[in-house]
């Protein structure tokens, strides 16, 4: 955590993306505050620098792939240990969420929706470890996830109803012509509002808890008093536990809403 000599705590700076990683124990001067600079470069005029959040995303992805592959390596009929735990989540998502929402066609989208859930979950959870950062607390990351969700939604609509059929389904059929002048802009806004809401919801939820934890801990430094510490630590710890819960809930909500939007686009009549 960045705190300078005046007792100022850079809360937002902790949330933001950086071109460096915070790493402890790398030099003698700054034992708990070392930095590793990350490469910065442009590709076709776009800044494709490997930032802290990109690294965190990769770490989360690597952890996700490693845990999943090691958990499901042995294919026997009886699940044990980690595989049992993960299968419980996967079967719950499939039987209690995705298939009730999407019907049997939900099975086609299972790999995408499971990846969405676990990718967001791992990013959320990774951000709770000290010296890491929450990639899903960056609006660019959530915007990208929302764009993917939007693309899959539109793709599902086009695949099920044809290219023109999909756009015709934007407005309910049987409306009188004059109403279309109002309805078409409204429906277009509605279509775009869904991924926008997905993006903002995940982003805001992920940074909110972090900011609150930082503010509680920062109070100790800002007020320069040890007597604040017990209350701050207790509240920060409680918020930390809440963050674990929110990490699950937000991954779940993002997945459920994506399933819902895909289903609505694929079957507009209900």
């Amino acid at each position: 955590m960045a705190a300078d000599a005046d007792g100022q705590v850079d809360v937002v700076g902790h949330i933001l993306d950086h071109h460096s990683l915070e790493v402890p124990f790398i030099n003698a001067q700054h034992v708990f505050d070392g930095h590793i600079e990350l490469p910065q470069f442009e590709v076709f005029g776009i800044d494709m620098s490997i930032t802290r959040h990109v690294v965190m995303m990769w770490v989360a992805s690597a952890l996700l792939i490693v845990t999943m592959i090691s958990a499901f390596r042995r294919p026997g009929p009886v699940p044990t240990g980690l595989r049992n735990f993960l299968e419980t989540i996967i079967v719950f998502l499939r039987d209690e969420v995705i298939i009730p929402i999407m019907g049997e066609s939900g099975r086609t989208y299972m790999p995408f929706l499971l990846t969405t859930f676990f990718f967001i979950l791992y990013c959320n959870m990774l951000g709770l470890i000290p010296y890491t950062a929450t990639a899903t607390g960056n609006i660019s990351v959530t915007a990208a996830l929302a764009l993917i969700s939007f693309a899959v939604t539109q793709g599902a609509g086009i695949a099920n109803n044809g290219f023109f059929g999909h756009w015709k389904n934007l407005v309910p059929s049987g409306l009188p012509a004059p109403l279309l002048i109002i309805m078409i802009p409204i429906e277009i806004i509605g279509m775009l509002a869904k991924p926008f809401a997905l993006c903002i919801r995940l982003f805001a939820n992920m940074i909110a808890g972090h900011i609150a934890i930082l503010v509680f801990l920062g109070l100790i430094i800002m007020l320069k008093s040890y007597f604040v510490a017990p209350a701050s630590v207790v509240l920060a710890a409680a918020l930390y536990l809440l963050e674990i819960f929110i990490g699950f809930v937000q991954a779940f909500i993002f997945t459920v809403l994506t399933a819902l939007f895909v289903s609505m686009a694929a079957h507009p009549d209900h």
């Binding site: 776009i46 999943m68 790999p111 990846t115 990718f119 990639a135 915007a143 990208a144």
Partner: protein, 165 residues
């Protein structure tokens, strides 16, 4: 870097990362896992169905066995009662035959007694006649010849009461 301004590079990195993770997990984990889950559910459903079938079969067999048992019992009872009836009948027949046999034996006895009695009577009569002749001969030895005497004695005997029996 601002809190709320999207950053195209990071958006692209996120999409690339997500797609790579999706492709890897779909190939290595989700595909086999979802297939395995379906397969397991199918095998559980099959096992439950076959268990149900086996139970129904067992129940049917049990009912069949019970029915057969009841049948066998009633058959056994029938056989016993038949046998008892037959034995009673045989006993009665034996009794009747024995009674008849006894009756016949008694009859035969009576008849043989009768015949014996008759033969004895004939014998007795002859003995008596001979004795009478002997006695008469001893008495009337000189004057009467044997022929005339016999005739006299026969007449005498014929005149005796019950001689014809």
């Amino acid at each position: 870097m601002d809190l709320l301004s999207p950053h195209p590079g990071l958006i692209l990195w996120t999409i690339i990362t997500f797609v790579v993770v999706l492709v890897v997990l779909k190939a290595k984990v989700w595909g086999p896992l979802l297939a395995a889950l379906d397969e397991r559910e199918r095998s559980i459903r099959d096992a439950l169905e076959s268990a149900d079938r086996a139970r129904a079969e067992a129940l049917a067999q049990q009912a069949d066995h019970e029915k057969r048992l009841v049948e066998a019992e009633s058959q056994a009872r029938q056989i016993v009662s038949d046998a008892r009836a037959a034995a009673e009948k045989v006993g009665q027949q034996v009794m009747a035959a024995a009674k008849e046999e006894a009756e016949r034996t008694a009859q035969r006895g009576r008849e043989s007694i009768q015949a014996e009695k008759r033969a004895a009577l004939v014998e007795l009569r002859r003995e008596v006649a001979d004795m009478a002749i002997g006695a008469a001969g001893a008495i009337l030895n000189a004057e009467l010849d044997a022929e005339r005497n016999r005739k006299l004695a026969d007449d005498f005997i014929a005149d005796l009461p019950g001689a014809r029996n």
